[in-house]
Symmetry: C2
Subunit: 227 residues, 2 copies
C-alpha cells in the first residue's frame, strides 16, 4: 500500500483496487493549543481525535449517500482509523468551500463593516484556495475559471451541492439540539465525466457548531450524534 500524500490531519494511501484509503491521525487544527477550524496550523495532538473524527465522518457520509448526494465515501474501519474512498482529482491544488449560516470567523474579519458576529447568513457559500502561505485567500467564480481551477459551470454545481449538503448536516445537528454556524467542504472531480463529488472528511474539525451559546468541541460531537 503506497502512501501518496501526507497531510496535517490525514495520510493517504493508494489501494490495489484503485481506490484510496485515508488514515485519520490524532492531530487537530488550531493555534496555541486551542482548536479552531479556521486555522491552518496543527495546534494539538489529541489521543482518540482521529477515531472520533472518523466516526462522525462515517455518520454524515452514510447519511449523505442515503440522500443521493455524490460523495467519495465507500466505507470506514473505526479500529484501524481508516476510511476507504473513491479516487477523485482535487480542483487545482485544492479549494475549500464554506457554507455560512451565522456570521463568524474570517467572514466577520473581512466584512465587519457590514455585518455583526452571529448575524444570519442563510447558507451563503464562498470559496477559498488552500494556500497556507497566502492565508487561504477567497476567490470569485471568474478567477477560479480564469486560473484554470474550475471549468465553466462547475462553480454553480459546487455551490448547489454545498447548499444541499450543508442543509442536511444542519438539520441533522438541529435534531440533536445543536446549531451549525458554518461548515467547510472539499470537492473533487470523480472518475465519471463531469462528476463533482464531496471528498475529504465531514467532522467537527470542519464546522463551527453551538449548543446554545456554547461552542461544541469537535471531540464532543460523538456524544451528541451517537447518544
Amino acid at each position: 500500500m503506497e502512501r501518496i500524500y501526507q497531510g496535517k490531519t490525514k495520510d493517504v494511501y493508494l489501494l490495489e483496487d484503485g481506490n484510496v484509503r485515508l488514515f485519520f491521525k490524532d492531530e487537530m487544527t488550531g493555534k496555541d493549543g486551542v482548536f479552531d477550524p479556521g486555522e491552518n496550523q496543527i495546534g494539538l495532538t489529541v489521543e482518540g481525535s482521529g477515531r472520533s473524527g472518523l466516526a462522525v465522518s462515517q455518520h454524515f457520509f452514510e447519511r449523505l449517500n442515503k440522500e443521493g448526494v455524490p460523495t467519495h465515501f465507500l466505507g470506514a474501519n473505526l479500529d484501524e482509523k481508516t476510511m476507504d474512498v473513491k479516487k477523485a482529482v482535487v480542483f487545482g491544488n485544492g479549494i475549500e468551500v464554506i457554507c455560512r449560516f451565522k456570521a463568524t470567523g474570517s467572514f466577520v474579519r473581512r466584512y465587519g463593516q457590514y455585518v455583526e458576529e452571529g448575524a444570519d447568513l442563510g447558507g451563503f457559500v464562498e470559496i477559498t484556495l488552500k494556500d497556507d502561505e497566502r492565508q487561504d485567500p477567497t476567490i470569485n467564480e471568474d478567477a477560479l475559471v480564469l486560473l484554470g481551477i474550475l471549468k465553466e459551470g462547475e462553480y454553480e454545481i459546487i455551490k448547489e451541492q454545498t447548499k444541499k449538503i450543508s442543509e442536511i448536516i444542519k438539520k441533522e445537528l438541529a435534531d440533536k439540539g445543536l446549531e451549525l454556524f458554518d461548515i467547510k467542504l472539499e470537492f473533487g472531480r470523480g472518475e465519471k465525466a463531469g462528476e463533482v463529488i464531496l471528498i475529504d472528511e465531514i467532522s467537527g474539525g470542519n464546522m463551527r457548531v453551538f449548543d446554545g451559546t456554547t461552542p461544541v468541541h469537535p471531540l464532543d460531537f460523538g456524544k451528541y450524534l451517537f447518544a
Copy 2:
C-alpha cells in the same frame, strides 16, 4: 457651497443646483513616498498632481461620454481644480471594481500559487470593499447581495460596464504606445431608477500603466495623452 465629504485625494461639495463639485487635492496614494495605486495611505503631496489628475480624468470622461457610457461627469475647470458631476449614491460604504489585463499587485499576492507576475488576465473583473481598516477585502457577488451592498443584477451590470470602460481606456492608452495592466473604477446609483454610473475620477492614480517595461508615473500621463 457646503463641503459634504473630505477624502484622501478629493474634497466634495454640494452645489445649489443639486449637482456635486469635486475638488482635486495635490495628494497621491502610496507608501514611504512612492506612488502605488494599490495603497490606501496618502504617501505624498505633489504640487500640480491635483490638476494633472483632473486633466486626465476630463480627457477620459469626455471620451467615455462620447461612447455612450453612463458616467457622473458634467464638466471640469482645470484652473480651479474642480470637476462637476451628477449626484450618485455609492454602493454600501463604497466598492472598488478592478479590471485586470496583466497580473500584478494584490492579485499575484493572493493567487501567486497559480499565476505569475505579468500573466495575461484578459480583462478579469473583481470587486473589493473600500475599508482601509480591513485592507479592502475582495468580495464575491453573493456576499455583495447578502450584505445589501448590491441589488440582484447590479453585479452583472457593473461587470459589463467595467469591461467596456476598461477596454476603451486600454485602447486609448495603446494608441499612445502604453499598456494598461489594471484599472480601479468606482460606480454609484444615478438618480434614474436602476441607473448605474461611473463615478470618482479616471486618472493615473487609478491604474497601472507601462511604457514598455517602465511603469508610467501618474504625473506623466499628460505627457503621453496630450502630446
